[in-house]
Structure formats: C-alpha cells, structure tokens
C-alpha cells in the first residue's frame, strides 16, 4: 500500500490565560491509500485538534507551529497559502464533522446541500450537480423519496448519511471523520460503521477516523494510533493493538470496555484525573496514573519507538533493551 498522507512533527498550541498549551505535541502519522487509520483518545487528548489542524481550520488563540509537514500525495499542504485552502477542502480532503445536526443547514433540502458542495468547486452545472448529489445520497442509503427532505425531517442516522454523502461527493483523496457515530443509538451506530466499511471497499476510501471509542475503531480501522495528552503513545495494526495492547494506557482502555459476550469481568477504571496540559509531569505524561510506572518514568520522557515491525510504543517498559 502506498502512502497517501504523511504528517511529520505537527505541533498545535493554544494560548490561554494560564499560558500556552500544546494540544498536539509532535505528532507523526501516515495514512495509506485505501486505508482507514483510527485515532483514539479521550476528551482533551488532542484528537479533534489534530483533525482540525489537518484541515487547517485552527483559529486563534490556536495555531499550528512552523516546522511541521503534511504531505498529501507528496504535496505539503501546510506550505500552501491560507487562501488556497478553501479550494482544497472538499476536494483534496474532506471532513465529516462531529455533529451532523449542526453540520447541515436547517433551511435547505439535503439534496441541494450536497449539490452545493459540488457547485462550490466550480465546473458542474446546477442540474448536473443535483443529479450527482442524488446518486451519492442513494449510495449512502437515503431513498429517493427522502432527498428533498429538510434535515429536521430526518433521523440522526439519516443526517449522518447525508454528511457522509457530502464528504465523498467531490471524491476527495482523504476523508477525516471526527466521531462519526457518537451520539447515535447502537443499532444506528452499527449501520453507519457498516456503511463506512462498504464505502471503503467500493471506493477504496482513505480515511482518518477520530474517536474516543476504542472497540468501534478497532472494528472498522486497519491501523490505530492512540493519543494521550497530545501525543501518540501507541500505533499498530488495529486488532493487534486491541488484543495485545502494549502501552499501559491502551491496556487500561481495553480493560475498561464492557463486553456482552464471554465471562463477565470487572471493568477497570484508570485512577487519577485526565492530564492537565498546563501542568504536565516532567517524565512520561501517563506516569501519575500508570500502574506499571517505575522510578525512571518520573524523569524520562519516552519517545515513540518501533518495538515490532509496524508497531510503535512510547513507554520505557519497552525501551529498556535498546538502551542497554
């Protein structure tokens, strides 16, 4: 699989009254063609800031620090002038935002909205755009009789389908989905994820899917990157990460997943509080909550190292051999 997106040294900071915080802290990642990369993290881990940074939609008091690279098909989008970005959004890379309800215009029928996403970029006539829009709506599972409905007339799942149609209508190279199923009922969640898997197959969609829900991400993604306090702390093939998590944080997340099959086990919670980006510990960010921490963890800030082919982890537990 060839690489479509390559991000190197991405830093996004926010200025706050208590000083500057680094919401995305030196992130490197890549997405292959036809691959879905899952970025998993909890509230405040920086996953939404990461998605927004890649769309170059960060607004003050936030900014992306100079020096990072975002190569999409070999072209560094961070070097483009800001004025160039609106033409790229939707075409080179499209966003499926967090709340479908808020992403849609309440006073325009959904087929017209999807068509607008096409005409915005020029070439097509209004009529042709509407035809294409309706084809995409059918593709994502909206029956023709619902095409001229207003967003409020549709269920949450249908609205999410419309937003997905809008994201794929210009055949972008990369789709970035921010929590595409959170807030939906379980049955609907399962259906939307099935749709995403189907689209991946039929259109060989390349996608970065951001979510707090580790099991969901494991299901649809090829690879996973786990974020904590703005950093990627573990990456690897999705099932391997879920079945054999290495980083103690990933392990804790896996143990917190309630299961409906198999023996009933006690759910584990992670002690302590989520990290405060204003006051990060000098060593490993997870050290204050880590059950496996040892003395060095208080002082040494672990880097993300490859421990097996295709598997990286930022934890001293796995770095020992190399240092000796």
């Amino acid at each position: 699989m060839s690489t479509l997106l390559e991000v190197r040294g991405l830093n996004t900071v926010y200025r706050t009254t208590e000083g500057q915080i680094r919401a995305v802290d030196g992130v490197d990642l890549s997405v292959g063609r036809g691959e879905i990369l899952g970025v998993v993290g909890e509230s405040g881990s920086g996953k939404t800031t990461l998605a927004t940074s890649l769309m170059r939609l960060i607004k003050p008091p936030g900014r992306i620090l100079k020096g990072g690279e975002m190569l999409l098909d070999g072209e560094d989008l961070f070097r483009l002038p800001r004025s160039e970005m609106p033409a790229r959004r939707g075409r080179d890379l499209a966003l499926i935002p967090q709340s479908a309800m808020h992403a849609l215009n309440p006073v325009i029928p959904v087929d017209k909205q999807v068509a607008e996403a096409i005409t915005t970029h020029g070439e097509a006539s209004r009529k042709a755009a509407l035809r294409t829009a309706r084809e995409r709506l059918v593709e994502v599972g909206i029956p023709p009789e619902r095409h001229s409905a207003y967003p409020h007339e549709l269920s949450g799942g249908m609205r999410q389908r419309c937003v997905i149609a809008m994201a794929i209508v210009n055949e972008p190279k990369l789709v970035i989905a921010d929590e595409p199923v959170s807030g939906l009922d379980v049955v609907v969640q399962a259906r939307i994820l099935r749709l995403i898997s189907d689209l991946k197959e039929s259109r060989s969609l390349s996608m970065m899917l951001v979510s707090h829900d580790l099991p969901t991400v494991t299901r649809v993604c090829d690879r996973i990157a786990v974020m904590y306090a703005g950093r990627i702390v573990e990456t690897g093939e999705a099932r391997t990460v879920f079945e054999k998590p290495l980083h103690p944080y990933t392990r804790a997340l896996v143990e917190a997943v309630p299961r409906v099959r198999g023996p009933k086990q006690d759910l584990q919670s992670i002690p302590g509080d989520p990290p405060d980006l204003h006051h990060l510990p000098p060593g490993c960010n997870f050290e204050p909550r880590c059950p496996a921490a040892f003395a060095d963890c208080k002082t040494v800030d672990p880097s993300l190292e490859e421990v097996e082919p295709g598997r990286k982890v930022a934890c001293l537990l796995y770095h020992d051999d190399e240092r000796e």
């Binding site: 399962a190 994820l193 997340l253 997943v257 299961r259 099959r261 009933k264 989520p274």
Partner: protein, 328 residues
Amino acid sequence: MMMNESRSSTSSPGSGGPLLEVKDLDVCFGARGRSGEVAAVRGVSFGIAPGEILGLIGESGSGKTTVARAVMGLVRSATGSVRFEGREMLGLSERALRKVRRRLHLVFQDPYDSLHPGMRVREIVEEAMKIHRVGDRASREAAISAALEEVDLTPSSRFTGRYPHQLSGGQRQRVAVARAMVLDPALVLADEPTSMLDLSLRSGILEILKRHRDTHGTGYLFITHDLALARHLCDRVAVMLGGRLVELGPTEAVVATPLHPYTRMLLQAVEELAPPSSSRAGYPINDQAQESYATIASGLQEVAPGHYVACYEMSQPTLDRPTTEKEE
C-alpha cells in the same frame, strides 16, 4: 451474585419489588389540535426491590426517560400506577411529591448541564439538604464531606470550594452522584449517567454506584442504551421499544438467551460494535421488522423463571427455546 439471583426471582413485572411498583403506566403527549396524541409509554409494568439495579434499555424515543420522569412525578399526563415505598405517586400534590422526592433522586445524563455553573460544589451538594431542611450547618458540612468522599473526591476539602467549570467531566458526574446520595435516597433514577464520559472514567462511576448499592441498599433504575454496560451493572434488565416493554429478565438470561427479536437486534448491534472476538452468536437481523415488533403482542409472558417477553412467536410452547448457557 447469589443475592442478586434470589432478589430477582421474587420480582415479577407488575407486582415486583416492594420499593417501586410500576403498573400499566401510560403516558400520552398531546399535540394540541394537531394530529392527536402520541403515546410515549404504553402499558409499562415493572418492579424494583430494595438494593436492586434494574436496567431500562432502549434507543432514543423508546420512552425510557419518560418512564423515569413519570416515576419522579414529573409527568402530569401519566396514568396507571406508580407505587414508591407503598405510596401511590400519580396524582400526588406538588407538596406531597416534594416530600417523597427526598427518598428519590435523579442523576442526569450530562454533567455539564446538570450542575449550576454559579454554585460551588459545597452548595450544589448541600442544596437538597437545605430544601428538605435536614440537619444544621455543622452536620450538613459533615454530610457533604462524607458524600464527596464516597464518590472518591478525596480529600473533600480540595473540591468543596470549586465551581463546576474547574472540574473534569468525570469529577462533575461524581458531584452529581454525591448530590443524589447525600440524602441517602431509597431509589436513584440514573438517566444515562455515563454516556457522556470517557471509557476510562465510566467504570469508576459504575463502581461507585455499585458500592453505594452494597453499603446502603439503594435501589436503582439505570437507563441506558448500552446492553454491554448494563450487563456489568444491572441485576435485571427491561427492554423498551416504541413505548412498551418487550422483554424483562435477569441480565445474564436476557444477554445469553434474548427472546424478543428486538433484543436480539440490539445485541447484534452491540456485538458488531465490539471488537472482533471468536465467540459470536449470529442472530438473524431484520431492519424493517423493528416497528412491527411492538405491535405483535402487548402483554409480557413469562417464558422462564423471571424472564418475560412480549412476543407472540417466542412465547409459543411448541417453539424450541435455546437453553440458557451457564456462564458463571
């Protein structure tokens, strides 16, 4: 576990636990002069024993929150019967209700919306005691500390002076739980209390609820759409669809041997969302049939001890029911 089983076997849908008995609850919301009424809850009956956690499972719009609101006496148009500690709640005056509510508390879904942003943690937890004129200043202060420690906000002095915006989501929900527990209620109605929380914090809140049940014998109506979560917490679960209960039984029995097609569909969805595992039970799933399930049968029928289902087909004696697997 043994305790839970004996508890649940004494309860039947209508004449259930002595703590809460809901019988033939109907709630209609009128659409004034428009296309008539919407029946949000139809003929719902269940009971909760002291110290029992009953999970009320359903999707958005299934009526589960309306059931909780009716139990709190917040729905004027509710008919049927809601008996809490032997006393009929429906039709009580606002004044009488207020007294009962000392024994009955709600924990809301969103800890960002349910705490007053202008009140400190101390005032938030104290408010209910003030309303019910419980104790004096000193004893209330002690109760606040105890309640905060009980939800693992320790030392409590670190938190009493803070405002909600100075707390994380998990801490806020703990404050909301402490507020519900400070008057030592007999029944807590928890409406999706963990759905807004991150996975790693969720289990902490569930642990607190369980511990409180074990030490104080509090009963819970735990509303959720997540059967996997319910499995870890609830003694029994009741599944709602379109305002009706379609299945009710001991949690393990419902999860291992779901009888109603809708329950199977929910389980199928949960399994599909779960990471791949070797032991998958493939249930037939029919997307379109969902609505018709609710209308097939109205009454719940007992098909195994304590396990009820509202589905004509599944309650036929000739049908081979899959045997319940022993999982523990």
